[in-house]
C-alpha cells in the first residue's frame, strides 16, 4: 500500500463509572491523556496531532468541545480534529489517527475519547438515565426511526432469531453471565457482579428477548492511545503494538432488510472484512487471541461472532454453548466484560478497547490477561441509528 507501519506506544484508560461528578470532561480527558503519555514515557510536547472522539453535544452541554480540550491539553497550535460516529466514534477516530501516521503526515498522534453523560437530568423523575435517552434521541433517524424504532439493533436481533432460530434466550443469557464474570477481574469495570442464569432471564425485559442484565451499561469515562511511526515507536517502547488492520463501514442495517437476508449487522461485517483483508487474516477464529466487541446487548454479541466470521451465519449460539468464547476458550470474546459489564459510553468505548487489546498483547492485562498464542487481537465496534456504524481494528505484536 506504500503506507508506513503504525504502532500503539501508550495506553491510558480510566475506569468506567456511572458518573464522575468530581471531574469535568476536560479533566477526564486530561487524566486519560496523562496516563497514556506516562505509559509511553512522553510528554504532551511530543504530540504532533490529536484526534478527538466526543460523541453527543447535548450530553456534553458543549459543541466543538475538541477545541476546548485541545487547549486544556496544552496543544494549542497543533492540528486537531473531532470524530463523532455514535458508539463506534473512537474506533473511527483511531482510523483517522492511523492514517495520519501511516501517510507520513505525523509522527506521533494522540487519539483520545471522552464523554460525560450524567450531567443531564429529567426534572419529573429526577433520574439522569431518562434524560440521557432524550439527549441522545437525535442519534436515530429523527424522521423515520423516532419515536417507535427505539431499539434498532433489537430489530436486527429479532429478525436474526426469526430466520436462524438462534440465538436462544439461554445462549443470550450465557453471554451476559460470561461478560459479568469476566468483569470481576477487571478493575476498570463499572459493574462487579456475578450473575446466574435465572437472575439474567428473570431481570426486567427491555425489548424481547433482551433483559436488563443483557443490555449495555452507560456511564462516563475517558481513554487515550498514543500512535507512532515505526521509527519513533521502536525508540519509545520495547513493546510497540502494531495496527495491522483497520476498517470502517457505514451501512444502514434495517431499511433494506428483506426476508432473504434479514438480521444482518452489515456495518460490523463490512468493517471487519476490510480489517481482515488489510491484516492478511483469512481464518479469524484461529488467527486471533482475543476480541473486544460492542455487545450493546448480549444477543448482538452473538450475531457479531457471525459477522466477524468466527463461525458461519446462524451458528453464533454454538460458540457460546461450546465455551469457545469464554476467557479460557479458544477465542476469548470480551475478556474485559464488554459493554454490558465493563462499561460503555459512546465516544470512549472504542479507544478503551483498542488500549485494552494492546495491554493483552503486551501481557500487561493483570488478572484478566488472556493467553497469547498468535499475538493478534481485534476490536470491533457498533453504534448509531439503523445499527449502521462500525469500525474495526486489528492489533499485532
Amino acid at each position: 500500500m506504500g503506507m508506513r507501519k503504525v504502532a500503539i506506544v501508550g495506553v491510558g484508560q480510566l475506569p468506567f463509572r456511572t458518573r464522575y461528578p468530581e471531574k469535568m470532561y476536560t479533566e477526564l480527558a486530561f487524566d486519560a491523556v496523562k496516563a497514556a503519555l506516562e505509559d509511553a514515557g512522553l510528554t504532551h510536547k511530543d504530540i504532533d496531532s490529536a484526534v478527538y472522539s466526543v460523541y453527543c453535544d447535548a450530553l456534553m452541554r458543549q459543541s466543538t468541545s475538541d477545541l476546548i480540550i485541545h487547549d486544556y491539553l496544552g496543544l494549542n497550535g497543533k492540528p486537531g480534529v473531532r470524530v463523532a460516529d455514535g458508539a463506534a466514534s473512537s474506533a473511527y477516530a483511531t482510523r483517522v489517527g492511523y492514517n495520519e501516521v501511516a501517510s507520513g503526515m505525523s509522527e506521533i498522534v494522540l487519539v483520545v475519547g471522552v464523554q460525560k453523560s450524567q450531567d443531564v437530568i429529567d426534572l419529573q423523575t429526577m433520574h439522569r438515565g431518562d434524560a440521557i435517552f432524550q439527549a441522545e434521541s437525535q442519534t436515530a433517524d429523527v424522521i423515520w426511526e423516532n419515536p417507535f424504532t427505539i431499539y434498532p439493533w433489537g430489530l436486527v436481533l429479532s429478525a436474526h432469531i426469526a430466520k436462524y432460530h438462534t440465538p436462544t434466550e439461554e445462549q443470550i443469557a450465557k453471554v451476559a453471565i460470561k461478560n459479568h464474570h469476566n468483569a470481576m477481574d477487571n478493575p476498570n469495570a463499572q459493574l462487579h457482579m456475578e450473575l446466574s442464569l435465572e437472575g439474567v432471564l428473570n431481570s426486567r425485559i427491555i425489548g424481547w428477548p433482551t433483559t436488563m442484565y443483557e443490555s449495555c451499561l452507560y456511564g462516563e469515562s475517558a481513554a487515550a492511545v498514543i500512535l507512532a511511526s515505526e521509527e519513533r515507536g521502536k525508540e519509545i517502547t520495547e513493546k510497540p503494538i502494531w495496527i495491522t488492520g483497520i476498517g470502517s463501514c457505514h451501512h444502514n442495517s434495517t431499511t433494506e432488510m428483506n426476508l432473504e437476508n434479514a438480521g444482518r449487522l452489515w456495518a460490523v461485517y463490512g468493517a471487519a472484512t476490510q480489517a481482515y483483508k488489510m491484516a492478511g487474516i483469512s481464518n479469524s477464529i484461529h488467527e486471533l487471541d482475543l476480541v473486544e466487541l460492542n455487545d450493546l446487548t448480549a444477543g448482538i454479541e452473538i450475531i457479531s461472532y457471525e459477522e466477524l466470521g468466527l463461525c458461519p451465519l446462524g451458528k453464533g449460539g454454538r460458540l457460546v454453548d461450546e465455551g469457545t468464547v469464554e476467557k479460557t476458550g479458544q477465542l476469548p470474546v470480551n475478556p474485559s466484560g464488554g459493554r454490558i459489564a465493563n462499561g460503555h459510553i459512546a465516544g470512549v468505548s472504542g479507544v478503551h478497547s483498542v488500549g485494552e487489546v494492546a495491554l493483552h498483547l503486551r501481557e500487561e492485562a493483570g488478572k484478566r490477561q488472556v493467553k497469547i498464542r498468535s499475538g493478534r487481537g481485534m476490536v470491533s465496534t457498533l453504534g448509531g441509528g439503523y445499527a449502521g456504524l462500525s469500525a474495526a481494528v486489528i492489533l499485532e505484536r
Binding site: 461528578p21 431518562d130 431499539y151
Partner: protein, 154 residues
C-alpha cells in the same frame, strides 16, 4: 474529591422546530390531507423507496411519486417493554408495544412503525412474515406517528 465537595448548578436547553420536509413533503401532505401513503420510484432502475427519497441513491436521478395500497409484510418485530419515563411515544402506544419493520407491497425498502393487536402473546400474532395493513390516526400532524398498522386478515 469527596462527593460532597463538587458544586452543581442547573441549566436548560430548549429548541423549538418548525421544520420543512423539503423534497419529500408530498409524503406527509398525502397522509395528513388524503390518508394516503406514497412511495417514490426510480424511473431508471425501478426501485421503490418507502420511506421515500426524492433521488435514487443508486442511479442519481430524480424519483417519481407512486401510490401504495398500505398493505405489507413484517420483516422484523420487537416487542418493547421498557421505555424511558419521558418517552414521547407514550402519547401513541401503551406498553408493551410492537415496533415492526414493514415492507409495503410495491416497495423495496422497509418502513418502521408499530403494529397494534389485541393478542400481545409474544411472537404469536405479529412476527416475521405477518401481513399487515395501514391505519391512519384521527389527528394527523405530518409525522410517522400519524399512522400505525393492524393485522391484514383479509
Amino acid at each position: 474529591m469527596d462527593h460532597k465537595e463538587y458544586f452543581e448548578t442547573s441549566d436548560k436547553f430548549e429548541v423549538n422546530y418548525l421544520f420543512s420536509y423539503g423534497g419529500i413533503s408530498r409524503f406527509f401532505r398525502e397522509i395528513v390531507e388524503n390518508r394516503k401513503i406514497f412511495g417514490t420510484k426510480c424511473p431508471k432502475c425501478g426501485k421503490v423507496y418507502c420511506p421515500p427519497r426524492s433521488n435514487c441513491s443508486n442511479c442519481y436521478v430524480s424519483t417519481e411519486w407512486v401510490p401504495l395500497d398500505g398493505k405489507g409484510t413484517v420483516i422484523a418485530a420487537v416487542y418493547c417493554y421498557w421505555v424511558p419515563a419521558n418517552w414521547i411515544g407514550l402519547k401513541y402506544v401503551d406498553l408493551p408495544f410492537i415496533n415492526a419493520l414493514i415492507r409495503l407491497d410495491g416497495a423495496d425498502t422497509c418502513l418502521g412503525s408499530v403494529v397494534i393487536v389485541e393478542d400481545m402473546t409474544l411472537n404469536k400474532k405479529v412476527k416475521q412474515g405477518t401481513r399487515v395493513k395501514i391505519k391512519f390516526r384521527e389527528k394527523r400532524e405530518g409525522k410517522i406517528s400519524d399512522f400505525y398498522f393492524v393485522l391484514d386478515e383479509d
